[in-house]
Assembly symmetry: C2
Homo-oligomer: 262 residues x 2
């Protein structure tokens, strides 16, 4: 008698054109979708599936790798393969940079996470002057060198976002923007104090698979894309005063925007 209750998973169809490993992946996916395996739950082990389906181990592993690519499951060495739980999501609203949110002591990230009952952290602080990349230079209006501020955001210990702000040196050098901690309200508050009254932001959004670097920095599971967001801040004279390049774990975010109909 198979250790798998035969109800959970069916048999293979030898007449089917569909590859065996796909059939197995299909059955596992369906079982997950139907809630037979719940979030965080362990799937049958490779050995059990080898036994159940009468196939070789590589075939079973191939099935798992399909599901991993879909972001449905993740493997833990020595433990098993588990249905990937959907982490809590951070909702970013389009008014998140409204001036009224800058009046408080803490950064927007901290305030919002506290409110959501999560434990926020910011680390990997690096602030330095460097050569502007082609792209950043273009966005900032042909500046050669910039102040770069890099930081990583964590929620309940999990890295969710890595961001770099770039500012022209003539704006940022020697100000508190060049300090590790720019103070209450963040750099946007400082920019306004320095006379760069902000007018609007532009955000560009892409989604793609992470680079190996990004996988490491954000500790991304396989099958999790990143959202790449590039924000440019414009002052009331129409000058681009900051570019913020952000890479987010896509499973941790929902972005939300308001568009006028006019």
């Amino acid at each position: 008698m198979p250790s798998l209750s035969s109800g959970l998973l069916g048999d293979l169809d030898p007449t089917s054109d569909r590859a065996v490993f796909r059939q197995i992946a299909d059955q596992l996916r369906e079982a997950i979708d139907r809630g037979r395996f719940k979030e965080g739950e362990k799937l049958p082990s490779e050995a059990e599936l080898v036994e159940h389906y009468g196939v070789s181990r590589m075939t079973v592993r191939n099935s798992f790798s399909v599901l991993q690519g879909e972001g449905l499951v993740h493997a833990e060495h020595g433990k098993g393969v588990f249905v990937r739980p959907r982490p809590p999501v951070r909702r970013l609203a389009s008014d998140r940079f409204a001036r009224r949110h800058r009046e408080q002591g803490k950064s927007a990230f901290i305030v919002e996470a506290d409110a959501a009952g999560s434990h926020p952290q910011v680390d990997s602080l690096e602030v330095k002057e460097e050569k502007a990349s082609q792209d950043v230079s273009t966005r900032l209006g042909s500046v050669r060198r910039v102040l770069a501020r890099r930081r990583r955001y964590l929620l309940d210990g999990r890295p969710v976002e890595f961001a770099t702000s770039y500012l022209p040196l003539d704006i940022a050098r020697g100000t508190s923007i060049a300090e590790p901690n720019p103070g209450p309200g963040g750099i946007y508050a400082r920019l306004e104090e320095l006379g760069h009254r902000l007018d609007h932001f532009e955000e560009e959004i892409r989604a793609r698979m992470p680079s190996p670097d990004e996988v490491r920095t954000l500790r991304l599971a396989s099958g999790v894309p990143v959202i790449h967001l590039i924000r440019t801040a414009f002052d009331q004279e129409g000058r681009a005063v900051e570019v913020c390049d952000t890479v987010m774990a896509a499973d941790a975010y929902v972005l939300s925007y308001q568009l006028p109909a006019t």
Copy 2:
């Protein structure tokens, strides 16, 4: 003599802890990043890499599968493994639903694609009444049944987007919105003619790996995520009059938004 110019790819480091297939993937990735293999170009065949590195075929295939997961390469049966070309990107600006864009005869998609020099198509037209999903019902304010309009957008023959609009029956039934072709300016123009003057839109954006269904519908290569966009249209009385659920091939889109700083 190896058929691979030894310059392109290096040797393995047997002392390294890094798995052999990862080392091979690293070298191929680096070669691609450095432009030694250009977009659309063929990588060495599995057999050549087996020969070059002195490993088994499965190891080489494993390397390829890493790069496929990253969306860097794609395999074509019988032909080879190729550096995935980055397709032309559709830029969606946040004013794309501005009223002035609705005054023309064609749909926004067609107009914009024509302007960009691409050949646009819309297919998979389906218009029918159906039960509202839990989510759609919530967004539309507890409606039971809706009119659903499904369509797929193609650019130069490639499917890039699959969208479904949901409208409350009391608004859409019996109007030209329920026709396969709603006429110039699309359903937003019709809504306004019917007295539902639009006030604003809300868009929610997520990114994730596609379901097998979405892979089929959008003919997605492996390693390409989707952008899932849910837009709700509000009229000037604050009523949600339409929900549009859109799944886009992430490699074909850049979304762009303007945010007020106030």
